[in-house]
Structures are given as C-alpha cells and as structure tokens.
Symmetry: C2
Subunit: 214 residues, 2 copies
C-alpha cells in the first residue's frame, strides 16, 4: 500500500494510525504542500484532485477522504477492528469521529485559511481566530459528549481504540499547532495522551514525519 500525504495533514495522520494498528505495511510519499507540489503535473497525473491523503492499494484509482479510507481498511482487513461490532456502538464511534472530520476539520484546512486571508483580506490574526473558534467548538462538543454519554470508556467509545480516537487525536495535535487553550477539555486530553503514549500513534505523529519542523 502507498499513501501520498504530508506531515501536517490531520487526515493523513488518522490513516497512518489505522495502518499501524492493523499492522499493514505501507509506504508514504510526503508532498510539500506549502510549495504546491500537490498541484504540479506529476501529482495531478496520480490524483487529479490534487489532494492528500491519496491512498493506493495496488493499482489505482486513488482512494481519498480519510473516513472512507478508514472504512476501506475495515472492509479489507477486519482483524484488529477499529469499529465496535454492535450497530449502536458503531454509530456512536462514527458520530464522534464525524464531530471532528465533518464538523471541525473542514473549517481549518489550508484552502479555507487561504480563502479567508487572500480572497476575504482577513488579517492573519482574524484567520487564526476563526480556526481557534471552530477547533474549540469541536473540542467542547467532544468533551460534553464524552462526559455525558454512557458509552465512553478508556477510549472515546468503550475500551477499544476506534475511528473516534483517531479523529480525536488528530484534532488534539492540531491544537498545539494553532494555539488553542485546551484547559476546558480534560477528558479529550486524557484520551489523547493515552493514545499518543502508544507506539502506533506515536510513530504516526505529524511532528515525527519527514518535512516537519524540528
């Protein structure tokens, strides 16, 4: 398996963790998104959308969208499941993952940050205010649900790592990059730190990938 990614991509991070947890060997090619490598002809011939992560299992076409790739890995490699077997628990794990991957992450991806600064002429600090607001909103939703809903265990859903944790940790790591106050979110912190102490998460950490700042 082969993935085109980037050190900073929260979506690529989730997929790396799943591959590590399932013990699936893979190669990752790191694109320099700041230099626009994703829009150069060489990469557009590989993925016409110019987006990472782009995931290949053998011959193309590329699989894209991190949640769809996570589900694909469940389908083809059901050993070491990353979703519960019970439908209600599966739905809860997925919905927690989607609080991050649908409601939160799309609001702070590079294309949105660039749009606010370049097309809407917002100063950098206002753009960062937008990012921090939506990150904090996502964290607050997670914290509220994790403390109020009976399904929470050692991890976001029960006592086994699921897609919910992969997404939670990908948001948590972003709070450091963007300077979000995480004090109000102790349950999110507890789960994120538990996960990040594990090898499959630690090896996948954005700051441990090629191209990341030292």
């Amino acid at each position: 398996m082969k993935m085109y990614g980037n050190w900073r991509s929260a979506a690529a991070f989730r997929v790396r963790v799943a591959l590590n947890l399932k013990g699936i060997p893979y190669e990752e090619v790191f694109l320099d998104l700041d230099a626009g490598e994703q829009f150069k002809p060489d990469f557009l011939a590989i993925n016409p959308q110019g987006a990472v992560p782009a995931f290949f299992d053998g011959d193309g076409p590329p699989l894209i969208q991190s949640l769809a790739i996570l589900d694909y890995l469940e389908d083809i490699h059901p050993a070491t499941p990353l979703l519960p077997s019970q439908p209600r628990e599966r739905a809860r794990a997925r919905s927690l993952a989607q609080v991050v991957a649908c409601d939160t992450h799309p609001l702070y991806v590079p294309r949105v940050r660039n749009f606010l600064m370049e097309t809407y002429d917002l100063p950098r600090e206002r753009m960062l205010g937008f990012v921090r607001h939506w990150m904090a909103t996502g964290l607050k939703t997670l914290e509220t649900r994790l403390t109020q809903e009976p399904g929470t265990g050692r991890y976001a859903q029960g006592d086994a790592v699921s897609h919910a944790d992969l997404c939670l940790v990908s948001l948590w790591v972003g709070t450091g990059i963007f300077g979000v106050d995480t004090a109000p979110f102790p349950t999110v912190r507890r789960i994120a730190e538990d996960c990040l102490a594990q090898d499959a998460f630690a090896r996948a950490h954005p700051l441990r990938q090629p191209g990341a700042p030292a």
Copy 2:
C-alpha cells in the same frame, strides 16, 4: 423510529431519503431552528447537543451525524443496500458522499453563517459569497470526479443509488436556496434530477416538509 429534524437541514434530508428507500416507517418532529427551538430545555433534555438530525431507534440515546445514521441504517436494515458490496466501490461511494458531508456542507451550516455575520461583522452579501464559493467548490469536485472516474454510472457510483447520491442531492437542493450558478455542473444535475424524480427523494424534499416556505 423517530427523528427530530427541520425542513431546511440537508443532513435530515439525506436521512429521510434513506428511510424512504429502505421502506422504514418513521415519525419526524420538525423543530423551528430560526426560533431556536433546538436550544430550549425541552429539546436539550432529548439531545443535549441541541442539534438535528437527532435520530431515535426505540429508547435513546439519540444517534447523531447524518453519515453515522446512514451507516446505522445499513447495519440494521441491509435489505435495499445503499452502499455497494465491493470494498473499492464502497470506498468510492463513501468518498463522494464525504466531498459533500465533510468538505462542503460544514462550511455553510447556520452556525458558520451566523459566526461570519455576528462575530466577524461580515455583511450578508459577503457571508453569502463565502457560502456560494464553497458550494461551487464542492460541486466542481463532484463534477470533475463524476466525469473522470470510471465508476460513475446512472448514479454517482454505478447504477444503484448510494450514500453518494443522497449527499449529492442534498447539496444540489441547497444551490437553489443560496443562489449558486449550476451551469458548470451538468453531470451533477443529471444525477440530481434523476433522483428527485423518484418518490423516495421527492417526498423527502426540504420544500415539501412542514415549515418550508410555500
């Protein structure tokens, strides 16, 4: 089954279509989001997040997030599948659905529109420009993929309706509400119009729900 929704919610629309296609009887309670009914104590006792759609299959807790609810319906009611059986095709259908539900819809939900106008003091027309930009971006991604990728058939993935179509149609209907130029997206139009001519979609249409403008 019982769902708390709203005529305008693209997410509730997707779930209504899935329930109709699967022939699952349900009751929908329509909240007046403009009047803030979702934040009143009566509803917060039902769903502490104050969000729709909130879906109940028997006793609580509520299931939330439209894609998680769609997957739950697949799990409990696999007859009339709304995802392909092959992993690669499933992944493609999911990724097309996520172009809408992750990359596009979260950028134009009420809380983002309100934030831009109320917290960032953007005039209404600038807020609408933001919404139209991201709707058009999502439509362009769909159009490009649907025309370039071999998996497209009568529907977004092959010749059977899938989650990809439910999400595509939910975005398409929004273009009318927000005034997006849809001329550059003929393939999206073809699929949306094909779906909307079918009873399961037509009955679920936002403008046919209680509370919608005449």
